[in-house]
């Protein structure tokens, strides 16, 4: 079949060449649609269900909202698990689906379930699903600030409330229109509210209850339409406007009467623009600010969306009041551009190097160009394939593309064609027919090994597809892209390459053996002869090398998944639970000034607590800081490493009291927030009902865990610690005064938390009208027990009389998983194998910890993933090896030869290990992928070499001669494939740009490995072949 394809390609060569145009067109078209991002998206399929419950404590939020929502989700198809957290004012349930679930379908199902339970939730609470975005979604952030001295129209300076109003009603509506934006999330400032703050004394004096004010305000704040009247043929619409519009109007609402004189709101209360009880704040460079973050729709092109957002923000500026400035503080485009530039540079330089090498070694510019043409063509095909399969272009997916590897097949074919053409038409021009025949012969002669080679390189990528979880998400695109590129190149070398050779190589070809090859051959022949003579030493030396490198590999450091340097720094600033928002802002100001003092830092901004849409619900004691660095050329020392800078920052901020830190990077931070789960080696989850018992059990387990050898960083998830003031009603006393528990709770919640009683409209803008006690009374918890509770007929009873006030710590957050409360004990493992450790822990806990009935344990953590991954790989890797061996046997019909070729693999790996060791790089999955690619190349090399030697041996019957001559003839293609493959990776190995750290290990391994593999293929393989076949007669 292959023969007929090649023949067809050569016969219909112009048709084949015109396919190039089709492919190019397709590639360009696809490129427009290719989503480009910096890193692959590793978010799982999840939906967040947020329910805002103003005033609800964690316990109430859990009982009233989280539980019904969780229960409603039971039995959703393809549900993996649910987890939830209940905090002050928020219930968040995260529903994680199995991989591959259609997110739109999943959201639909959830919506259906939520609709069914809505009536069971407390009135006014509405569970909503989080934005349809992934961990890569936060692509653009901006701050809204007032210039110094800027004034509002009424002459007062802009405050946080005014800035928030501008963000909510001027900027956000415009930004939200940008295509591909799913949400503009705001944090910081205060949502403007109109506050009616009655004085308790005056209420008593006038015999008015809070309830009366609420009723009065509610009943005096509406517009009503009243149909229309026809008069004299004209239609007149009727309406009755009654909405409150100004503070003055609110003040004049009548709430009661003394005889005939009305009691107005202003007689008993103050009306002013007040501050909401906010759950989050934002700071920038030490000052409070308002921060808007654009969330990108899942699957949109981040570069395009971020660019559009930046353009839109420019437009928005024209519509802002004087003295207000908006500034972009984070723009994903920067990172994506830098990453794309890195990838482009690597690919371009690699391609150029490959062309140069081809030209130098082939000595024929046309041949070099034909081979090089495979690069853009297979790239076009790959891009088309990526768009088709939904793989986005990013550092990982494009990171392993080595054009040297891709053109290997083509190199072998073109090289052979040239050789044969130059042999057959050294001086005279061949007739077309003959030339085509020569090309056909030359192609088919090497097509089988080269196809097998490409097939083998493709097959070695299979284990990568079995990676699951985060690693899978990171490396699947890489493997997919490489496989697509290889397959495309394979097809091209079958069709376009022979066609092009047939068309272009119409001039007499004189094989100018280039100087390099001549020198190479003159060195190679004596070397090979020596090696054949001292084969024992060669084989022993090679074996020793493999053993040494094996040992060397175990001494290398290790790194699970490589980290892309995003160029910016993010850090969590953690304070103790219970820290208030205002206190956090104060701490934040000092922290940010400290960070800003670094000359490398451009901007510092932070989100504290939970934003408007709770995409990342943090308590007020946690702040996400973003440190934007200046471009490197503006640094005092442009060569300062980022690790060094982060280290300096870490020690600088460590001096500040009251903060704990975790350094990370913006995208990484977001991924961590979304993926969540236990990030330690071992996580023991204790499930049960009672929080105290859970905590006690967890502490007990912690005690046992700490005793087990190898345990490190063991800790219990912090559960309690939020100070809470409980107003516990005294039922009997309440009844004595004719009050119900409800009356008391209404008073406490309305008075302290505030009670929304309506909306105030200003055009489109609408603001909450709320009723609550004056700030000085709310804050003074010492005299809260004196707060008068009104009774009928102007009497009162102090709060302390009818309720008990208790201040004690309470759970700051209640976490649940799969519908049950849980507390997690985590530990890492040092200097011990994970499996044994986990087994011992399980046994110890079973023996020593007595679990209360109704409580159970679940063991999880990364050990699980590692275990399942190793199990899977332990199965898949041998199968893959077997497949490769099978392919080799198919190619050779000889197991012995296949095994000889196979020895090339460990020999190749030695170089990879040495290269890593020399560059002081750790083993990582990136490096692992490099080893995988390397095995493929090594096999390919051996294949090409041995198939030729064998053919020659069978022709001549002289083994030694066949080996030496065959090896010499194959020197050029072997050197060429090796050189192009390794040189193609050189820019990647040396690059220091953004994103290079992910590709560096891979490239280093391949280069090192190919050098060793080439040398050893050239020397050891012939020796082994000779050794193993020396007693055989030619068949």
């Amino acid at each position: 079949m292959i023969d007929s394809i090649v023949r067809l390609s050569i016969e219909r060569r112009y048709l084949m060449l015109s396919l190039i145009l089709v492919l190019t067109g397709l590639g360009v078209w696809s490129y427009q649609r290719l989503p480009i991002d910096a890193v692959p998206d590793i978010t799982n399929v999840q939906v967040q269900i947020n329910t805002e419950a103003p005033g609800y404590s964690p316990l109430e939020a859990e009982q009233r909202i989280t539980f019904p929502v969780e229960t409603a989700l039971y039995g959703l198809p393809q549900l993996d698990y649910t987890r939830s957290l209940s905090r002050y004012g928020l219930s968040q349930v995260t529903v994680v689906f199995e991989e591959g679930t259609d997110i739109y379908h999943a959201r639909n199902l959830i919506d259906e379930r939520l609709a069914a339970i809505k009536s069971g939730l407390p009135p006014g609470l509405e569970p909503t699903m989080g934005p349809l975005a992934t961990g890569l979604g936060e692509i653009f952030s901006y701050t809204v600030e007032a210039e110094p001295g800027a004034q509002q129209p009424d002459g007062s300076p802009y405050d946080a409330t005014a800035l928030r109003e501008i963000q909510d009603w001027i900027i956000k509506p415009q930004m939200a229109q940008v295509r591909g934006v799913v949400e503009i999330n705001t944090i910081g400032g205060f949502d403007k509210q109109y506050h009616v703050t009655p004085s308790p004394i005056k209420l008593l004096e006038h015999g008015i209850a809070l309830k009366d004010i609420a009723t009065a305000l509610g009943a005096n704040n509406a517009n009503r339409g009243a149909g229309y009247i026809e008069r004299n043929g004209q239609q007149i619409l009727v309406r009755s406007p009654g909405q409150l519009q100004t503070i003055e109007e609110i003040e004049n609402v009548v709430v009661g009467r003394h005889g005939s004189s009305p009691i107005k709101v202003k007689d008993i209360a103050e009306v002013a623009i007040g501050k909401e009880l906010r759950t989050g704040a934002a700071t920038r460079d030490g000052k409070e600010t308002v921060l808007g973050t654009a969330m990108m729709l899942m699957g949109a092109n981040s570069r395009a969306v971020a660019r559009d957002l930046a353009d839109k923000l420019e437009n928005v500026k024209a519509s802002l009041p004087d003295g207000i400035k908006v500034e972009t503080v984070y723009d994903r485009t920067t990172l994506v551009d830098k990453t794309v530039a890195t990838v482009q540079k690597n690919l371009l330089e690699g391609a150029l190097l490959v062309i140069v090498v081809l030209f130098l070694l082939l000595g024929n510019i046309r041949a070099a160009l034909i081979t090089a043409a495979v690069i853009p063509l297979s790239m076009m095909a790959t891009i088309t394939g990526m768009v088709r399969t939904g793989v986005s272009a990013n550092l990982m997916s494009l990171g392993a593309l080595d054009f040297g590897l891709i053109v290997d097949g083509a190199v072998i074919i073109v090289e052979n064609c040239i050789r044969r053409l130059s042999l057959s038409q050294s001086d005279t021009q061949l007739a077309l027919r003959e030339r085509l025949e020569v090309v056909f012969q030359a192609t088919t002669e090497v097509i089988r090994p080269s196809l097998f080679g490409v097939a083998i390189i493709t097959v070695v990528y299979i284990p990568i597809f079995t990676l699951s979880g985060v690693e899978g998400k990171m490396f699947h695109p890489m493997a997919a892209t490489v496989v697509m590129a290889l397959l495309a190149a394979m097809l091209l070398s079958l069709t376009v390459v022979p066609a092009a050779v047939a068309v272009v190589m119409n001039k007499p070809v004189r094989e100018k053996e280039s100087g390099i090859i001549r020198v190479g051959k003159s060195l190679y022949r004596p070397l090979l002869e020596k090696a054949l003579a001292f084969r024992g030493i060669v084989v022993a030396g090679a074996t020793a090398l493999v053993v040494v490198c094996l040992w060397l590999a175990t001494t290398l450091g290790s790194e699970f998944v490589p980290q892309l340097d995003e160029g910016d720094i993010a850090l969590h600033a953690l304070r103790i639970p219970g820290t208030g928002l205002e206190q956090s802002i104060k701490l934040q100001a000092i922290l940010e000034k400290r960070l800003k003092a670094f000359p490398e830092v451009d901007k510092v901004f932070a989100k504290i607590g939970t934003p408007e849409v709770a995409t990342d619900p943090m308590p007020p004691n946690v702040a996400d800081n973003f440190v934007m660095l200046k471009p490197r050329d503006q640094w005092p020392d442009p060569n300062r490493s980022k690790a060094d800078l982060v280290g300096a920052m870490e020690s600088a901020v460590e001096e500040l009291p009251g903060n704990n830190y975790e350094f990370t990077q913006p995208i990484q931070m977001r991924f961590n927030e979304l993926i969540s789960g236990v990030r330690a080696d071992l996580g023991i989850k204790v499930f049960g009902d009672d929080l105290d018992k859970l905590e006690a059990t967890a502490e007990e387990i912690l005690g046992v865990l700490k005793e087990v050898e190898g345990a490190a960083d063991a800790r219990v998830e912090q559960v309690s610690g939020l100070p809470m003031l409980s107003v516990i009603p005294k039922r009997i006393t309440l009844a004595r005064y004719g009050l119900t528990v409800d009356d008391l709770q209404d008073l406490v919640s309305a008075g302290i938390g505030g009670q929304p009683v309506g909306l105030i409209y200003e055009g489109d803008r609408r603001f909450t009208l709320a009723l609550r006690l004056p700030e000085d009374i709310r804050r003074d918890i010492d005299s809260l027990s004196y707060l008068p509770v009104p009774l009928p007929a102007g009497r009162y009873v102090p709060l302390g009389e009818v309720a008990e006030l208790q201040l004690k710590p309470a759970p700051a957050q209640i976490s649940r998983e799969n519908g049950k409360r849980r507390v997690v004990v985590t530990a890492n493992v040092r200097d011990r194998d994970l499996g044994g450790f986990v087994d011992e822990v399980k046994q110890e806990i079973a023996e020593k910890v007595d679990l209360p009935s109704g409580y159970w344990l679940d063991y999880g953590g990364t050990f699980e993933q590692l275990e399942s991954a190793s199990q899977r790989l332990a199965l898949v890797v041998p199968i893959t090896l077997a497949i490769i061996l099978g392919l080799l046997v198919m190619a050779f019909g000889s197991l012995k030869d296949s095994l000889i070729i196979f020895t090339g693999v460990p020999l190749a790996l030695t170089g990879g290990v040495m290269a890593l060791w020399l560059r002081d790089l750790p083993l990582s999955i990136s490096a692992g992928v490099g080893f995988i690619a390397l095995s493929g190349v090594a096999v390919l090399n051996g294949l090409v070499m041995l198939s030729f030697i064998r053919d020659l041996w069978h022709e001549t019957g002289d083994l030694r001669h066949a080996i030496i001559e065959g090896a010499l003839i194959r020197l050029r293609p072997v050197l060429m494939t090796a050189l192009v493959a390794s040189l193609g990776f050189v820019p990647m190995a040396l690059n220091t740009g953004t994103g290079a750290e992910v590709q560096r290990p891979l490239a280093t391994v391949v280069i090192g490995g190919i050098i060793s593999s080439t040398l050893l293929t050239l020397v050891v393989l012939p020796v082994l072949y000779h050794w193993l076949h020396r007693r055989e007669k030619t068949r």
Partner: protein
């Protein structure tokens, strides 16, 4: 990492090597001491004071209304039934004791007699006019608001601490009037509180009966050996502590607290006079000491 080793080792055909991965170590800080440089303390607004003797003023807050004392309100009647010949005052007029309010011609003697003001005060109401025959109904109501009673409701929770003679600050409309509790009397109608009475001078006339007042009763004013500002108290490890400064070191000092008045708290043990303790931003030191436990669980 294990993964790589597995790939790697399987490719090489050797047995899998097991090796646990290295993880980031969170430095665990032990003890209840925080070290903060002077400059940093200043920048963070940490202020320190010397522990010293002081007074604890404990107040109880009660609410009540202003009443007229019974002797300050008089319904003036005509002693003998008769015809009202003239009326000398009108509503709102101030009268002195003994001023003539009206002249009535007695039905019995047919002589005119004067109805005089029994107290000085203001004519609050006039229920008569010239030509009317007086009956048992009062002609005038005189009130004198020079002195007012503040009648405050003391609920059962506070009752044991309130005694006659205790100083009380009565707050009316933002003005403080110093007074003492004169009497305690049970409320009528079986209401569950007692009424504490005190008399207020109202010479300026800015108070009126029916106005609501707040009473701050000095339940206790005592000098104690050692007090700290309430701001200084924090909880740490389930105990009440103050943070004691020694140079750049601040340590959590558990203390036993006694009485408190909302501003100051008596320290019974744990602290010596002369110790420097943190007042403002003491939370920061608590935060610093406990920060190793601060983590962000997602």
């Amino acid at each position: 990492m294990k993964l790589i080793i597995v790939i790697f080792s399987l490719l090489l055909g050797s047995a899998p090597l097991s090796q646990a991965s290295a993880k980031h170590d969170h430095g665990q800080e032990e003890g209840s001491v925080s070290t903060i440089t002077e400059e940093m303390a200043q920048r963070n607004g940490i202020t320190v004071a010397e522990a010293a003797p002081g007074t604890i003023e404990r107040h109880l807050r009660v609410y009540g209304r202003l009443d007229l004392p019974p002797d300050q309100r008089v319904d003036v009647r005509a002693r003998f039934t008769g015809l009202v010949k003239s009326v000398a005052v009108s509503v709102g007029q101030t009268v002195a004791k003994g001023d003539v309010l009206a002249t009535v011609e007695s039905n019995d003697s047919l002589k005119d007699y004067a109805v005089r003001a029994p107290i000085a005060g203001v004519v609050q109401a006039r229920q008569t006019s010239v030509g009317e025959i007086t009956g048992s109904t009062p002609l005038f109501t005189l009130v004198n608001t020079q002195r007012l009673w503040a009648t405050m409701q003391v609920f059962s929770g506070q009752r044991f601490e309130v005694k006659p003679g205790l100083p009380v600050h009565v707050v009316h409309n933002g003005h403080r009037h110093e007074s003492t509790i004169e009497s305690l009397a049970p409320a009528d109608n079986g209401e569950p509180y007692v009424l504490a009475r005190t008399t207020l001078e109202n010479s300026s006339g800015d108070m009126a009966p029916g106005d609501l007042v707040t009473g701050e009763i000095d339940a206790e004013i005592i000098s104690v050996a050692l007090v700290v500002e309430n701001e200084a108290l924090q909880t740490h490890d389930g105990k009440t502590v103050v943070f004691v400064q020694e140079g750049n070191r601040y340590h959590a000092q558990p203390v036993k607290v006694g009485r408190t008045d909302g501003r100051h708290t008596e320290i019974l043990s744990g602290l010596k006079p002369g110790d420097h303790y943190v007042i403002e931003n003491s939370y920061l030191i608590k935060a610093d000491i406990e920060k190793s436990g601060a983590a962000h669980e997602h």
